[in-house]
């Protein structure tokens, strides 16, 4: 199917998933992920060209509701869950640049 997953691959994937790994973790995870992917290699032998992928166990259908106002979450209650808020908004560190 593909080459065995490398440490560089795992480092890249960790970066995409917003995870920091120590050198030791990188080493351990690489071996473990490779074991799982090796197991999944039996899929490579299957000829599935004419098989439709299944995205959901049940037949897909449109789910609509009457266009009327219903119950909604309370803003204050939702904001109270957040680590930091200001003026009824979620507060985060700077997205561009760094905080001084």
């Amino acid at each position: 199917m593909t080459d065995r997953i490398s440490k560089e691959d795992v480092a890249h994937v960790a970066d995409l998933a917003r995870l920091n790994l120590t050198e030791e973790e990188l080493e351990a995870f690489t071996g473990q992920l490779a074991d799982v992917l090796d197991h999944a290699a039996d899929l490579a032998a299957l000829d599935l060209v004419d098989v439709e992928p299944m995205t959901n166990p049940l037949p897909m259908r449109n789910v609509l509701r009457p266009d009327v106002v219903g119950e909604t979450s309370d803003r204050a209650e939702v904001l109270a869950c957040a680590p930091s808020v200001e003026d009824e908004q979620f507060r985060v560190p700077p997205v561009l640049g760094e905080s001084p």
Binding site: V36, L46, M54
Partner: protein
């Protein structure tokens, strides 16, 4: 005080509804059982003593006023701690949800409470339901009540242990690849994964959305049927919820299996699969004999693509998890580890908040979805799901139900499989195909293994086949070799925690 023999949810609810016993008395008995052994078992992340007392008293007031509090009147229930409870911490056994109190109840919680149930606590799980042993938890390991050196299975190990230990007669779990059925088997209780969409997932913290399903744990088949009738049925807040009422299970429970055709899945039953222990196979053969004695015809059958189930699952589930768990970014709820900019804050929060197994699956899923690998892994796995569904459909032309072991072995020692994730994943080999197909299946306790620990038999049915599935489960329960390992006073309160034969 100990839990009286026969303290099933049905018996308790009927006694409480008739005023023969108070909900408060029943609750206090269960709190005593919890007090006696929770320190050792660690089934709960949180026991809601005051809230439960208030709820039980409210039930008693309604009974005194001549009202009917509902089919679960005063029955203590435990909830897996990945189901949202308004104002009550919901952790998924993860540090990343530290301090979070959901602003709403899951639909299943609303329905249980509306039926008169008393929520006693939130149970431990493998973090975000990822695991088969309840060892991957920020709240410590849960121990098997029948032998505390062994795992209870997972990921709903806390719920299975709570029911097996007599802490509550009923509990809810969630099942993505076997997380209800495998711990039920390992703890000697009944565990049900309903048809996908039969129970609302609104308020269930998402792991793999095309596979997740909530279901009951109980000590008897009839109690699981009752609980499923209460929690099932359409919910407009879950777009995958089946737009039908919950099926009536109670009235068909005793219809037997006369004339039913039951197929043993060769690929999952031992002769076709390495790693199924001899004692597990032996119990399965006895279960077959019991069904035949009750008038069913049983034959072996092949569901060939189930051999690819494990591989497909460990691509699909991590892929969906990597997407679902992207929401834990330190912005809207739970843990935040501060940093100088938002991106670094996201990374620092996720790195500190997730445990190793969750990180492993997020990375596996991210990899399987990444450019260049999508077709080879995710695309192929989705096609394998179609093959499995087609193979099941063929099998169900000839058979009403299918049968397999629930788990390959009895409960294994704590720590035995934590170092090798792939060995741990193999625990789910028999349970995964039902999730991939969206079909219902359940584990029924059926005797014990050479080590004296419980063994479960899995009954599988096609979509919406719960009524027939429960009939077979009821027959198996009545025929189980050693009776029911977790029922009665022999085990609860036993100082050693070892089951008396």
């Amino acid at each position: 005080m100990s839990i009286p023999e026969g303290a099933t949810a049905r018996v308790l609810a009927s006694e409480i509804r008739s005023g023969a016993r108070s909900a408060r008395t029943v609750l206090e008995e269960h709190l005593v059982a919890i007090d006696a052994r929770e320190g050792e078992i660690n089934a709960f992340n949180l026991v809601l003593v005051n809230e439960a007392r208030a709820a039980a008293d409210a039930v008693d007031i309604r009974v005194a006023a001549g009202e009917d509090p509902g089919p679960l009147a005063g029955v203590p229930v435990a909830l897996k701690d990945n189901m949202c409870t308004r104002g009550v911490p919901t952790t998924c056994s993860s540090r990343i949800l530290e301090g979070w109190r959901p602003p709403y109840d899951a639909t299943v919680v609303e329905r249980l409470v509306a039926a008169g149930a008393v929520v006693v606590g939130k149970t431990n799980l493998d973090e975000f339901a990822m695991g088969s042993s309840t060892e991957n938890s920020a709240f410590g390991v849960t121990r098997n009540p029948l032998d505390p050196t062994k795992v209870p299975g997972g990921s709903s190990g806390g719920s299975a242990a709570a029911v097996a230990a007599g802490f509550t007669p009923l509990a809810l779990g969630s099942d993505t690849g076997g997380s209800i059925r495998q711990p039920a088997a390992l703890c000697g209780v009944v565990g049900v994964k309903p048809t996908y969409g039969a129970v609302s997932r609104y308020g269930l913290v998402a792991f793999a959305s095309s596979l997740d399903q909530i279901g009951p744990f109980s000590r008897t088949v009839a109690d699981s049927a009752l609980m499923l009738e209460v929690i099932g049925g359409h919910d407009r807040r879950d777009s995958t919820s089946i737009p039908e009422p919950a099926p009536d299970l109670s009235s068909v429970l005793d219809h037997g299996v006369e004339g039913l055709r039951v197929g043993i899945i060769e690929e999952l039953s031992g002769d076709g699969l390495e790693g199924i222990a001899d004692d597990v196979q032996a119990r399965l053969h006895e279960a077959v004999a019991a069904l035949e004695a009750a008038g069913a015809t049983v034959a072996s059958t092949s569901v060939p693509s189930t051999v690819y189930g494990l591989s497909a699952y460990y691509v699909v589930a991590p892929a969906e998890a990597s997407s679902n768990l992207a929401r834990y970014d330190g912005v809207r709820f739970g843990l935040r580890v501060d940093a100088l900019n938002a991106g670094d804050m996201n990374t620092a929060t996720r790195t500190a908040g997730f445990g190793d197994e969750v990180k492993r699956r997020i990375m596996l899923g991210t990899y399987a979805l990444s450019a260049g690998y999508y077709d080879a892994y995710y695309g192929k796995s989705q096609k394998v799901r179609t093959l499995i569904l087609e193979d099941f459909a063929r099998a169900y032309e000839e058979f009403d139900l299918l049968l397999s072991p629930t788990a390959p072995t009895t409960a294994f020692p704590i720590g035995e499989k934590t170092a090798d994730p792939m060995t741990m994943y193999l625990n789910d080999v028999c349970t995964i195909p039902s999730n991939l197909a969206g079909h219902p299946s359940m584990s029924v306790p059926f005797g014990v293994g050479e080590d004296g620990m419980p063994i479960g038999v899995q009954v599988l049915a096609p979509a919406f086949g719960e009524p027939t599935m429960f009939r077979a489960a009821k027959v198996l329960e009545a025929a189980a070799p050693d009776g029911h390992p977790a029922v009665g006073g022999t085990m609860v309160g036993s100082p050693t925690g070892v089951r008396h034969e």
